[in-house]
Amino acid sequence: MDGNSNWDRKLIFFFEFENTIGGSKVTINVMTSGEVTKKVYNREELFILDVRNQSDFQDWKIEGANFSYLNIPYFELLDGVEEILGEIPADKNILVTCAKEGSSVMVAEMLSEAGLNVFYLEGGMKAWSEHLEPVKIADLTDGGQIYQFVRIGKGCLSYMVVSNGEAALIDATRMTDVYIDFAKRIGATIKHVFDTHLHADHISGGRSIAQKTGATYWLPPKDATEVTFKYSPLEDGNDVSIGHTTIQIQALYSPGHTIGSTSFVVDQKFLLSGDILFVDSIGRPDLAGKAEDWVSDLRETLYSRYKELSGELIVLPAHFMIIDELNEDGSVSEKLGTLFEKNHGLNIADESKFRSLVTENLPPQPNAYQEIRETNMGKINPDIDKQREMEIGPNRCAVR
């Protein structure tokens, strides 16, 4: 390698680019997480050049029905991109991604210099993991609405129920400004914030939103035995109304994923199932370390408690696992009756087979799930960078 390599020249350019954005001679296109989300929803084609290291890529990547991929770590491209030019299609949009943006800017720049028209992902996978896309699910009785906030990169789903200028949030993520700004924009005051259970895969924004807005923060007491803060105990039969037309939010004790897991029936039409029941999978009982103890609870919730509910209820879960679970409008929902027909986890007649499905051969546990639980209990207070790092990767709250 001579001292004045091609790379050094690129590097100098890279620094110049960093210092003179806008004045750069070569066009580098930026794509935001919101724009990538639209491509997922519209099932568009996109060629993703992911320049993170191989293990990070294999663990977690941007998923789309018609996305194709090439994974070459950026540190293998420091001498130039000539060797991979042949592997990059000329007829597709090309998006370069990395962990935080820096390396993808560098590689996108090199590809642009080589004559390609490419985009880099603004904020990298960090931004992708944090992006929330609000989707309106339905109008409610007397003018209310229910919105689903799709955390597309991580598969987390949270909800805002609105009626007559008042809002309730369910399973809010730590991107608290998104909900607060959204409520402001639609002219609603956040009155109640619920967590269906103590989350193990992501850091809850519930407590922080309640502090910022003066709302009441509700948690199931059986999940909250170790929390360090005050909360309102959420128990079976609790009935909370918002707006003076009383949109009903009815709590339904549904243990199994955790001992305290609670579902909600909203407006007698929607079943917010938390991490108990998903569209194409069911909750796993092991993330608080008690799989064997909680299998019976999970079975009873899914096969008895939920069975007694109307099959017409629309199930709105707290997660999706795979991109195929998204409806055409980007939302994730299905009729309870349909799930009783089609969801494999609801159709295992033999109890011992069910027991082995949910306790054996489980997927790996979510990244840093113990630390995430402790954060949600208020026991530790990691800074924002640490929180991001703890949440990196896919959610793994389900068994199929």
Partner: protein, 77 residues
């Protein structure tokens, strides 16, 4: 650990930790050891340095964490 050079890349954003490491290791002789210091919380740099060393034929001979600083010793291949 006897290292020929110490490189501090604490606080640098990707791709700079590897860019600098690569440059400095280029100036060493084969068999010489470079010590690299990063923030222990910078998981990205940590993983990338290990993967880069492996792919470049260098040997990651030791790493240790002390007071929030992660030190790597890489022997040039």
């Amino acid at each position: 650990m006897d290292s020929a050079k110490v490189l501090d890349v604490k606080g640098l954003a990707c791709p700079m930790p590897i860019v600098k490491t690569r440059k400095v290791i280029g100036e060493l002789d084969s068999g010489q050891v470079l010590e690299i210091e990063i923030h222990a919380t910078d998981k990205g740099a940590k993983n990338d340095l290990a993967a880069w060393a492996a792919s470049g034929g260098h040997e990651l001979i030791q790493h240790e964490e002390e007071h929030g600083v992660l030190k790597f010793w890489i022997k040039k291949g």
